[in-house]
Amino acid sequence: MPNRHIPFLARTVLVRNGNVDEAARILNRILGKEGILDQYRRTRYYEKPSQQRRRINYEKCKAIYNEDMTRKMQFIMRKNRADPFPGCI
C-alpha cells in the first residue's frame, strides 16, 4: 500500500533536548486522542455488523451521558463572583 503522506513530516514529533520519552509520549497521546490507535486495534480482527452496531450505540449513549454530565457539573459549579477563587492562581 503506498504511503500517501510525506515521510517524516506527518505523525512526527521532534525530540527536544534529548528527551525521547517525552516525544514518544506526546506522539502516543495524539494518536490516542485522534482515535488512530483505537482504529488500528479494532481492525486487527473482523468486527461483525452486530458487534459494530452494539459498539456504536454504546458510544452514542456514552457521549450523550458525558455531555449531560459536564453540563450538570458546569451548572453546579457556576459562580457569579469577580474573582471566583480568591487566593488561587
Binding site: V20, Y40, Y45
Partner: protein, 204 residues
C-alpha cells in the same frame, strides 16, 4: 442501622451460627449491593485478565497542555527537512525502522535513502517463542543494534515506529541507552478506515 439489626435479631440465633458483628456485615443495603457486586466483579476480572501492555504509554494521559509551550520546536514544518542537526540536514540522517507486533520486534537501520544496513529482531537476539514478544527482549535487541550502529558510524537517527506491541516504548529506550542520538520519532502504523476484511475474531 446495623445496631438496630443486631437488636432485632435474637441473641440466641446469633450465637448458633455466627457472632453478631458478622451477621451485621452479612447484610447489605439493597440499593447499594448491586453496584458494589458489579465493582467487585470488575475488579476480579481485572485481576484475572490483566491489561495487555501494548506499549503505548501516554495514550490516556491528559496533561495540562505542555504542548502549547513550544509548539514550533516539537513538530516539523516545511523547513525541517533542510534543518541542520550537527551539520547534517534532517533528510540526510539515517533512519531506524522499528516494526512492533504482539509477538516480535524487528529493528532495522537504513541510510537516508532507505537501504537496509543493519537488521536485528528479538528472535535473532536469542529470545524464542513467547519471550520474543516482551519489552525486555525489545530493549535488549535495541541495545545490541544500537551499539552495532555506533560502530558503523551511525550516531544520529530518525526513528519510525510501526505497529503496537510491548516493544514500542522499550525499543526506543534501548536505542537511547545504547548511546544513539534520536532526532525525531515518527509513527508509521498502517491504519485504514476502510480496510479489506480482516481475519475472523479470535475464539477465547
Amino acid at each position: 442501622m446495623f445496631h438496630q439489626l443486631k437488636n432485632i435479631l435474637s441473641p440466641n440465633l446469633i450465637k448458633t451460627k455466627w457472632p453478631a458483628f458478622n451477621i451485621a456485615e452479612k447484610f447489605r443495603s439493597i440499593h447499594l449491593s448491586q453496584t458494589y457486586c458489579k465493582l467487585k466483579e470488575e475488579r476480579r476480572a481485572a485481576r484475572i485478565n490483566p491489561k495487555i501492555d501494548d506499549g503505548t504509554e501516554g495514550e490516556k494521559q491528559f496533561g495540562i497542555d505542555s504542548l502549547s509551550l513550544k509548539r514550533e520546536e516539537l513538530f516539523p514544518s516545511e523547513d525541517t527537512p533542510n534543518k541542520l542537526f550537527k551539520n547534517i540536514p534532517f533528510n540526510q540522517i539515517p533512519i531506524c525502522n522499528i516494526k512492533v507486533s504482539k509477538n516480535n520486534t524487528i529493528i532495522t537501520i537504513t541510510d537516508a535513502k532507505g537501504v537496509v544496513r543493519l537488521l536485528r529482531s528479538c528472535g535473532v537476539e536469542g529470545f524464542k517463542n513467547t519471550r520474543k514478544g516482551t519489552n525486555i527482549a525489545a530493549q535488549a535487541t535495541a541495545i545490541t543494534i544500537g551499539s552495532n550502529a555506533l560502530n558503523k558510524g551511525y550516531s544520529m537517527l530518525r526513528v519510525r515506529l510501526s505497529g503496537l506491541g510491548p516493544g514500542r516504548m522499550s525499543a526506543l529506550k534501548g536505542l537511547q541507552m545504547a548511546g544513539l542520538d534520536i532526532i525525531s520519532v515518527t509513527d508509521n502504523t498502517p491504519v485504514s478506515w476502510n480496510p479489506p476484511r480482516p481475519r475472523k475474531q479470535r475464539r477465547l
